[in-house]
Amino acid sequence: MSLYDVRGLKKNYNGRTVLDLPALTIDAGGMVALLGPNGAGKTTLLHILAFLLRPSSGQLMFQDQPVAFNSTQLHRLRRQAVLVEQHPILFSTTVAKNVAFGLKLRGLARREIARRVDESLEMVGMRAFAGADGSHLSGGETQRVAIARAVACRPQVILMDEPTSNVDMENRSVIEAIMREIRDAGKSAIIFCTHDLTQAARLTQTRLHLSDGRLNGADYENTFPTSVYREDNQIWGCLGHQLRVRMPSDAPAAGRVAIDPRRIKVAALQSDLVKPESCPGRVFQMVADGDEVRLMVDVGVPLTIILSSQAYQDLNPRIGDLVSVLCPPDALTML
């Protein structure tokens, strides 16, 4: 049984299509990361998956049943899918009562409610604030209480919109640990948005990339504005004043390019791989991403390069090393 099935779903605002998903299936019990630039439609999609926003057209299936957005019984379905908003808001009462809200609605016994409130506040490190007024918490405190409030409900799926964007380092790993625990226990599925690609990489292999409301496979991390100029009968794009890339002959005078982080060639500066259009860059970050390694090189702009385990071993870069970077034409997509 799949958790969600999306068929030809669209959402329009004032005639602009901000979400356009011909087909998408999300399985039960897993963890899905939703990635994509600002305005890609991530929040919009989460609101639809939480049954809070009615799509303009198309169909949404939940656990193989079509969702009737005009049903008066929709709240029964909503109890299976709890959303933590991008900027959560707490009811203007105590933190504890905020967490108890969903539990009361589910008709739990008073003692069970008290137990779960304690437990979930403890989990996010906010138990000391149980009696505090929810409307006066700091940004990160609010976000953590909102997570506790959702987790306490133990729904089929928890939808989290940038759940750790305002959370401090310590609690970021605490929340990631909670997410992993929920996934491992198979209690609830988790669908979350994030702009932190290493976080997405740490937590799950199932990553959906949205851009302009559409699903596409391309990582969006390497998108840059370019200026285009002509030299030696060839059109060149220039990124961050240093990196030159060969552009297709029909490239517009200025625009944005996406560079596939898996197709960028990188070599030691001394190597014979160095070509005229390659440029030097300094390695400033390396992160494990499953079996691969994510290298970040400063070439005037921060460029992400994903290396296979083997390629990483071969290159063996160190932080601070200068490397030679080359973007072949097939790595480029004009946007």
Partner: protein, 231 residues
């Protein structure tokens, strides 16, 4: 100045004297006004939610009509209700005319648009995330409305207080539908109007001061309970 002092002294006399007739009049005024406010609130707040929460064609038309009804004069309400409940009217057999219940009917019609329009206004600035949060945590329509109501309480209480002030100080409907019958349907305002007609201005204002004192008492109570509730 002398006039105000006289009025104030008469008011003191009335209050301290605890004249049984005055007590009766005060009691009736309070009973009728509270009943009207509660009834109109019970109808108007949910109605305001229905209109304010939902997006539908003609919503702005509905709000414009509501705003228009804010100008419904008491004479019109009085006559319309009169026509329906008089001996010769459709509901004549209920013998409602010149009873406190008749006043309540008229006053509910008077303040229903006020409470509804102000509830809509109070909701207009409540962050939509409260509604979404209640829904996503599994609340049904009613539970969601209650959660949002809690957040909008200041505005809605203000609407109810304004409506209460409107009816307790209202004369036209009480006079036309209650009839100002001494001992039956005489309220503070109809008593005031009578004293005014008689030229007894000092007594009229004295009664007005009594009325304001009562209103002050009610609002102080309300303030106290709101304070306790907020804690």
């Amino acid at each position: 100045m002398a006039f105000f002092i006289d009025s104030f002294l008469s008011a003191m006399r009335l209050i301290l004297g605890a004249d049984p007739e005055l007590m009766e009049i005060v009691g009736l005024s309070l009973r009728v006004s509270l009943a009207s406010t509660l009834l109109a609130g019970g109808l108007g707040v949910p109605l305001g939610f229905l209109i304010g929460f939902n997006q539908f064609r003609g919503k702005r038309v509905v709000i414009t009509l509501l705003n228009t009804l804010l100008a419904l004069p008491t004479v019109v309400i009085g006559l319309m209700v009169y026509t329906v409940i008089a001996r010769r009217g459709v509901l004549g057999m209920l013998n409602l005319l010149y009873t406190p219940n008749a006043i309540i009917i008229g006053q509910v019609i008077l303040i229903l648009p006020v409470i509804t329009a102000l509830t809509i206004a109070a909701l207009s600035r409540i962050d939509d995330r409260y509604r979404r949060t209640a829904l996503t945590l599994g609340a049904d329509h009613l539970q969601t409305a209650l959660a949002v109501l809690r957040e909008a309480r200041f505005g809605i209480v203000a609407a109810a207080v304004a409506a209460f002030g409107r009816v307790i100080s209202e004369i036209g409907i009480s006079m036309m539908l209650g009839g100002n019958a001494r001992g039956f349907t005489r309220t503070m305002t109809t008593a005031m109007a009578l004293e005014y007609d008689k030229g007894e201005f000092v007594l009229a204002v004295g009664l007005g001061i009594v009325l304001l004192t009562i209103s002050l008492g009610m609002n102080t109570l309300l303030n106290y309970f709101q304070g306790r509730y907020a804690e």
